[in-house]
Structure formats: structure tokens, C-alpha cells
């Protein structure tokens, strides 16, 4: 069962490595497994999943099936694609291309289509509003891939969905998924206070010396240049506000700076836009990667069936994935979830 890995979290996000990773299947399974628990579930998404509605024909693809009592936040124009009997309980000022986000309570079982707010601050507010309305757990559908990376930042735990649609090669699929999970679950950084890490006005790059003083590279100086400077030999760590990209990291890796033991930190896993190669090189040079807000990956869900008819052997995929990650792995197409 998936629910034993997620019960107790106030909020949970579901994100996918690609389309057809089985996100909706996982979401439906969570709703189903929690149906008979004495709890109120609240549902929304970050932005809108592009697959949900064919805007041209106005028809909805199979949606999410909720049970009576659940709370749902979605855009005004999506209500006509929801066939659960509902009671409107609130409106919000969060606007989307499909109208403002409204909140309803399902007064019966039925299908819903999610199109929630796209800003993380709004999602946090919405989670609080859900709780005021009696929600015990908010589940956030991560929607489109890039944005979905923000969803873990606003939820306590996340379920990472992946599947045969990602790649024909099982090695690539398993390797990239394990890497994504690793980035999401990087250890908590050790050198910066919460206020320092979350400061929206902070410069893009800050260095901390071993004596605790903070050093900001002068205008026009890159991170690599700052780390190479002989007077900066005693740097204990670097904090990147915004995204830590390959472009920032490559000169550091190619230059001669001694980065053994240096901690490279960003706000959360969604800000680390680096590939496995750069990650491995960092590790090889003895540097550490960390985040201010670690995300808990509650489980990895794999879908052995791809959208274009190419399937992987479920047993092999499960076994390989379990070897590669140290969180529970389940097969979304298998009724018992392969978790037995």
C-alpha cells in the first residue's frame, strides 16, 4: 500500500519525470487508498496539466476521481469538467488563464479536473485555507514538468513518478530517476541560517569562510574566479540564490580551484539545474551539494507501460529501481502496487 508511506504528512506533491509517467494513476490511487481513512483530503495542482483538457474540442481527458467530502481547488472554467456534485465553499484571488481558482467540497463521488495556482506563495496560502476548511492532507498535482519541480518546495513530501515513456533504455530511465531523487533529497545545508538562505534580496552568489564571515564576489567576478583566488582558500561553502546551473558550475570544475570539502547549496532541489555528469564530477572533487529545504521523497512510482506502446518488464524495472534508490518503489499499473 502507498498510504503507509504518506500518512501523517500535511501536504504531499506528485511530480512526474515526463508525460505519461502515471501521475494521475498515482494520484487516483492515493485518493482511493485514503478513502476510508477518517480524514479530509484536499486537492489542487500547481498550474494546469496541459494534458487535462483539449482546449480546441473542449473535451476532458480522464480526470481524477474524488470521494464525497474532499475539498478541491481548481480554476472557475474547469468546473464544467467536474461531475462530482459540489458545494462552492470559497473563491480566491489567484488568477489563471482559466479564471480565478475556486474551492468546492465534493458532496458526492466523481471526476474533477485540477488547475490550481501557479505561484508557490499562493499554494502555501491555499494549503492553509484548506486546513481552515478542515483538510487533514493537501495533495498537489505537480502538473507540467518544469513547474512541477516547485511543488516539492511547498509540500512536506513528494511522490516521484517515472516510467517507460521517459526512455526506451532502462539504464537511462533508472539512472536519471535515481539522480532526480538524489537532487530532491540532498542533505540540509549546514552553513547558512534559514533567514540567510531565504533572503529574496540576497546576491546570487555568497561565499562563507571558515571563520564564518560572508564574502560576496565583486561585480563581474565569476564564482570560479572567486574560488580560485588565493585569498579565498578558506571558503567553507557557497550559497547560490536562484538556480545553480551548469554554466555556473562548469568553470568551477574546469578551473584549478581546490573545492574539496566545500559545500555548494541552493534553496531547494528544484533550483539545481545540473546533470549527472556535473554532479559526479563535484563528488569526485570532494565537494558537497546541499539544500536549505530538503524534500522528502515518500516513494518512487514506476509505470512500465509507455504511451507509444513500448513496455518494459515490470519485475525487472521494479528490481532495478529498488536497487538505485533508497525509498519505497511501486508499480503504478499493478493493483497491489508491487510493494508487497
Amino acid at each position: 500500500m502507498l498510504k503507509e508511506h504518506i500518512l501523517g504528512f500535511r501536504s504531499l506533491s506528485i511530480i512526474g519525470m515526463c508525460k505519461n509517467a502515471g501521475k494521475t494513476t498515482v494520484l487516483n490511487r492515493i485518493i482511493r487508498e485514503l478513502r476510508d481513512e477518517p480524514m479530509t483530503l484536499a486537492l489542487t495542482s500547481i498550474g494546469r496539466d496541459g494534458e487535462a483538457v483539449d482546449v480546441v474540442t473542449g473535451t476532458a481527458k480522464p480526470g481524477i476521481y474524488v470521494y464525497e467530502g474532499s475539498l478541491v481547488a481548481t480554476a472557475r472554467d474547469m468546473l464544467r469538467f467536474c461531475d462530482a456534485t459540489r458545494e462552492i465553499v470559497g473563491t480566491t484571488p489567484y488568477s489563471t488563464p482559466l479564471g480565478d481558482v475556486v474551492i468546492f467540497r465534493a458532496r458526492g463521488d466523481g471526476g474533477v479536473q485540477l488547475a490550481g495556482p501557479s505561484m508557490t506563495a499562493q499554494l502555501i496560502e491555499l494549503t492553509n485555507a484548506f486546513e481552515t476548511l478542515g483538510a487533514d492532507m493537501t495533495v498537489i498535482d505537480g502538473a507540467l514538468s518544469r513547474k512541477s519541480l516547485c511543488a516539492p518546495a511547498v509540500s512536506e513530501a513528494t511522490v516521484l513518478c517515472t516510467g517507460a515513456s521517459y526512455s526506451r533504455s532502462i539504464d537511462t530511465l533508472v539512472g536519471d530517476t535515481a539522480f532526480a531523487a538524489k537532487l530532491l533529497t540532498l542533505p540540509r545545508q549546514t552553513l547558512w541560517s534559514g533567514a540567510e538562505a531565504g533572503d529574496p534580496q540576497a546576491p546570487k552568489v555568497r561565499l562563507r569562510r571558515k571563520d564564518g564571515t560572508v564574502l560576496i564576489p565583486p561585480e563581474g567576478k565569476s564564482l570560479a574566479q572567486a574560488l580560485r583566488a588565493p585569498e579565498n582558500r578558506d571558503v567553507a561553502g557557497v550559497f547560490i540564490s536562484g538556480a545553480l546551473t551548469e554554466a555556473t558550475l562548469r568553470p568551477v570544475l574546469q578551473g584549478g580551484a581546490d573545492i574539496a570539502g566545500v559545500e555548494f547549496a541552493a534553496l531547494d532541489g528544484s533550483r539545481l539545474l545540473i546533470g549527472r555528469d556535473a554532479y559526479d564530477k563535484l563528488a569526485l572533487r570532494g565537494a558537497k551539494l546541499a539544500v536549505a529545504r530538503p524534500v522528502r521523497v515518500a516513494a518512487v512510482a514506476v509505470n512500465p507501460v509507455s504511451a507509444c506502446g513500448f513496455d518494459m518488464d515490470p519485475a525487472e524495472l521494479l528490481a532495478r529501481m529498488r536497487e538505485a534508490v533508497d525509498v519505497p518503489v511501486l508499480d503504478v499499473m499493478n493493483e497491489d502496487g508491487g510493494l508487497l
Binding site: 470521494y67 472557475r76 461531475d83 456534485t85 458545494e87 462552492i88 465553499v89 475556486v102 467540497r105 458526492g108
Partner: protein, 484 residues
């Protein structure tokens, strides 16, 4: 240009200080309009309401706080209410309308207590009970919108059927059976949708006779909210009641919030401006940096505030409801329009004069350092001629000038005291002690008060003192002294 004028005199600043509680009040302020002379009865009623509210802010504080709290969650839904005249509303729109009606039930009794205690007139906020009854047939008073099963026999039957299918679906394990049940359920859900639409249309039909009442209620809230915001602003910055006259202006201790706030930020304080003037030209002369322009802008601001239905910031105010208010002053815009500042000034003056000559009512004509941009001899000639021309008009004109020999043609002559009573040596020592921050020190010693000039015609000679105190080149100063 109108906008530039409003910004320039601090009118926009004052309006931005208004803090309405509801979007209805905000919309009222966004659409702020100026009263024309023939709308005086309505303006007087509104100003009276603001004064009465101002006087009751303290004794009725808990009531005002309560009603503000009730107004705050309101949404401006006038568009969907208007739409309801012709079409059926969606469930979200009906939800919002129900929320409004529920709030109106809370607001109305508090408003009635405030109205009876403060004596405000011409505003009414009625609880929308009848409309609420249609939106809440079971009288549950829940702040949600839901069509109960009992709304119609058809809905009851459909929901029963749908629930039974959903119950079966919960237990069905077989994939094919689930698919069959899902399809069956979808068909029932479609029927539910049709029936719910019909019921919503029925509700909207029932609401139609109440739409005017709902919109009147929203207007009442807008007017009350705007009144309360105006009273609070008057309380914060010292607003007073207005006595309307035919063609005489008499302000005591006017203030200008924008200038006052800016001075306060720098540790200074605003010197209130008092002025009276009638038809013809009144003249303000005085030192550089002495606040002549501020005095003029403060007069423009307060006259315009009254025209917009706000209380002026003053101890007392007597003025006509001006047909138009003009200020011809140098500002940064001219350069962008490709005119020399002098040319732009003349163009504006012409426009002002031609409109004033056509006006049926009384106008306020304000000229700041008119013709300052040209040579002093000609400038003085122009200023004198303009003063004489304004004297012949039925409008209230106020000019500031540097030029000598203008005052004798003005009906009234004011002087900014400026540095007249200053101990120059003492100020020089203070500047030295302040490491040369001369502008600030001089500003502190400047007497910004406006005084009636007693028979003096020439302008004060403060400019040389200012040059000296600000450390102008010694040779130049010596030369100036030698020429005198």
C-alpha cells in the same frame, strides 16, 4: 496635463491616502469626479456627511471598526449582477452573490445604528433578505452555495440514482463492471448538470426583481465606505467643514499632506498657510526658498479637494465652489514637449484666460512666478500687466512674484516672512557647525508664514543672504555688494 497638475499640487498624494475597506469604496475613488457649481446641494450633503462621520469617529469607533470588518471581504460583483438581468449565473457567481447578501445582512444593522447616531443623510444600505431567501431556501445561512437535493423532484431522483451508482462503484472490483458503472454514472451526471442549470436559471429568474435593490445596496456601501475613508483622512491630517461663499476665499492654517510628510521625514515640520482673497489679483512676494510655491500649491490642493468632495486640510475654510481651478507653474513637462519654459507658460496662460473668460461660474487662477523665465525688466512689465488684467475679472487670482512694482496693482499683497528676522551671523555659525549643510539649516530658519504686507512694495532682499550662507564664491559676493 490635468493629471500632471493633480500630481504636482499633491492632490493624487492625498487621494492615495484614502483607505476604503471595500472594493466598492475603491471603485468610487478610482472614478473620483469633480462637482460643478450647479451640483452644490449634492456636494454639500456629501461634505456634511463626512463632517458628521468625522465627529463620530471616536464615540462610534467600535461600530465603524465592525462595519469595516464586514465590508473588507466583499468582492465587486456588479458585473455579474448586471448580467443576471439577461442570463443565468454560474454556481460560482451565485456563490458570490449569496456571500454578498449574507454580508449585507451583517452590514445593514450596524449601518443603521451609525446613521441614526451620526445623522448622515442620503445613504441607505438594506439587507438583501429576499434575494438571500432565494439563494438559501433552507435558511441554513451557510457561506457556501449548494443546490440541495430537495430543490426539485427531478434533482432528488437524479442525485439518488447517482449516489447509488457511486456506492456500487466503490465496491466494484471487476474492471469491466467498473467501466460499465462509470459510463452509467456519467450519463446520470449529465442529467444532473442539465437539471442544476435549469434550477440556477430559475433562481436567477426569481432574483431579477431584486437586482435594482442589490445594486442600490452596493451603491450605498460604496458611498458609505467612501464617506468613512474621507472622514478618517480628515481625522489623520486635520480636515475641516466648508462654508461656501460666492466669490471669496478664506483659508486658515491650510496644510499639504505631501509636503508635510516629506518635511516630517527630513525632521522638519510644515508651516500652515492662511490666506484670504476675493475677485481680482492677490499677490505673494517673498524670499527664495521661502515657500511661495508651496503656499500656492496648498491653496490649489485644498480648493480642488473640496471640488472632489473631500474636506480641505485646514482649521477653517470658506470658498466658492469653483467652476475651474488653474495653476500655471513651471514644471518638467515643458522641456519634453519641445517648448521653452517661457513659451509653455504663455501658452498655458492663454488657455487659462480664454477658458476663464468663457466660464459662467467663478474660477481660481493661480500663477507661480509668472514670466520668471525672461529678462527681469520685461518680466516685471508682463507681471504688472497680468495683475491688472486679473483685477478686472470676476475670478479669484493669486500670483507669486519676485518682481518689484507688481504689488501696487494687486488688490491684496502677502509676503512670506522668509529670512527677514534672521540673525545672519548666527545662522552662518550653525552652518559651519553642520559641516556646511546650508540648505537644511536655512530651511529650518526660514519663516514660511504668509503675512499681509503693510505698505511695502519692493521684494525682500534675501537672495544675497542665501548666496552668502550657501558659501558662494567670495569674489562674486564682493562684486554684488559693490554694485548695490
Amino acid at each position: 496635463m490635468r493629471h500632471e497638475f493633480e500630481r504636482n499640487i499633491g492632490f493624487r498624494y492625498a487621494i492615495d491616502l484614502l483607505e476604503p475597506a471595500s472594493p466598492y469604496g475603491r471603485a468610487k475613488i478610482a472614478g473620483l469626479r469633480f462637482f460643478s457649481p450647479d451640483e452644490r446641494p449634492e456636494l454639500e450633503r456629501q461634505l456634511q456627511n463626512v463632517v458628521r462621520t468625522l465627529h463620530h469617529l471616536a464615540p462610534l469607533a467600535p461600530e465603524y471598526e465592525k462595519i469595516s470588518l464586514y465590508m473588507m471581504p466583499l468582492k465587486d460583483i456588479r458585473r455579474s449582477v448586471e448580467m443576471c438581468r439577461e442570463a443565468a449565473l454560474s454556481e460560482t457567481e451565485l456563490f458570490e452573490l449569496k456571500r454578498f447578501c449574507l454580508q449585507s445582512v451583517l452590514i445593514s444593522p450596524v449601518f443603521a445604528r451609525i446613521r441614526d447616531a451620526s445623522g448622515i443623510e442620503g445613504i441607505d444600505i438594506r439587507a438583501q433578505e429576499e434575494a438571500l431567501g432565494l439563494l438559501d431556501p433552507e435558511n441554513a445561512r451557510a457561506a457556501t452555495f449548494f443546490l440541495p437535493d430537495a430543490s426539485s423532484k427531478a434533482l432528488l431522483a437524479i442525485r439518488k440514482e447517482k449516489r447509488a451508482l457511486e456506492e456500487k462503484l466503490r465496491r466494484a472490483a471487476d474492471r469491466d463492471e467498473r467501466a460499465r458503472l462509470m459510463a452509467e454514472r456519467a450519463a446520470v451526471a449529465a442529467r444532473e448538470d442539465v437539471e442544476e442549470s435549469r434550477l440556477r436559471a430559475e433562481i436567477c429568474e426569481g432574483l431579477r426583481p431584486h437586482i435594482d435593490g442589490i445594486l442600490r445596496c452596493m451603491d450605498g456601501i460604496a458611498n458609505f465606505d467612501f464617506t468613512l475613508a474621507r472622514a478618517k483622512l480628515a481625522a489623520a491630517y486635520g480636515g475641516c467643514a466648508v462654508e461656501f461663499s460666492r466669490n471669496e476665499v478664506e483659508f486658515v492654517d491650510m496644510r499639504n499632506p505631501r509636503v508635510a510628510d516629506a518635511l516630517k521625514e527630513r525632521g522638519g515640520s510644515f508651516t500652515p498657510v492662511s490666506i484670504s482673497a476675493g475677485p481680482g489679483a492677490a499677490l505673494i512676494t517673498g524670499a527664495n526658498m521661502g515657500g511661495k510655491s508651496v503656499a500656492l500649491k496648498t491653496l490649489a490642493l485644498n480648493a480642488l479637494l473640496v471640488k472632489a468632495g473631500l474636506l480641505p486640510f485646514a482649521k477653517s475654510a470658506r470658498l466658492p465652489l469653483f467652476e475651474e481651478i488653474f495653476l500655471v507653474a513651471e514644471d518638467g513637462e515643458d522641456v519634453g514637449r519641445g517648448l521653452s519654459s517661457f513659451g509653455a507658460e504663455i501658452v498655458r496662460f492663454n488657455e487659462m484666460l480664454s477658458r476663464a473668460l468663457r466660464a459662467k461660474g467663478v474660477c481660481l487662477l493661480l500663477l507661480d512666478e509668472f514670466a520668471r523665465g525672461t529678462n527681469p525688466e520685461e518680466g516685471a512689465l508682463i507681471a504688472r500687466a497680468v495683475t491688472r488684467r486679473l483685477n478686472g475679472l470676476p475670478h479669484v487670482g493669486v500670483l507669486t512674484t519676485h518682481y518689484d512694482g507688481v504689488a501696487r496693482y494687486a488688490k491684496l499683497h502677502y509676503e512670506v516672512a522668509g529670512l527677514r528676522d534672521m540673525d545672519v551671523a548666527a545662522v552662518a555659525r550653525e552652518i559651519a557647525a553642520n559641516r556646511g549643510d546650508g540648505v537644511r539649516v536655512i530651511a529650518r530658519h526660514m519663516n514660511y508664514g504668509l503675512y499681509r504686507a503693510q505698505g511695502r512694495e519692493s521684494c525682500p532682499r534675501d537672495a544675497r543672504n542665501v548666496c552668502m550662507l550657501l558659501g558662494m564664491d567670495a569674489e562674486i559676493l564682493k562684486d554684488i555688494a559693490a554694485q548695490e
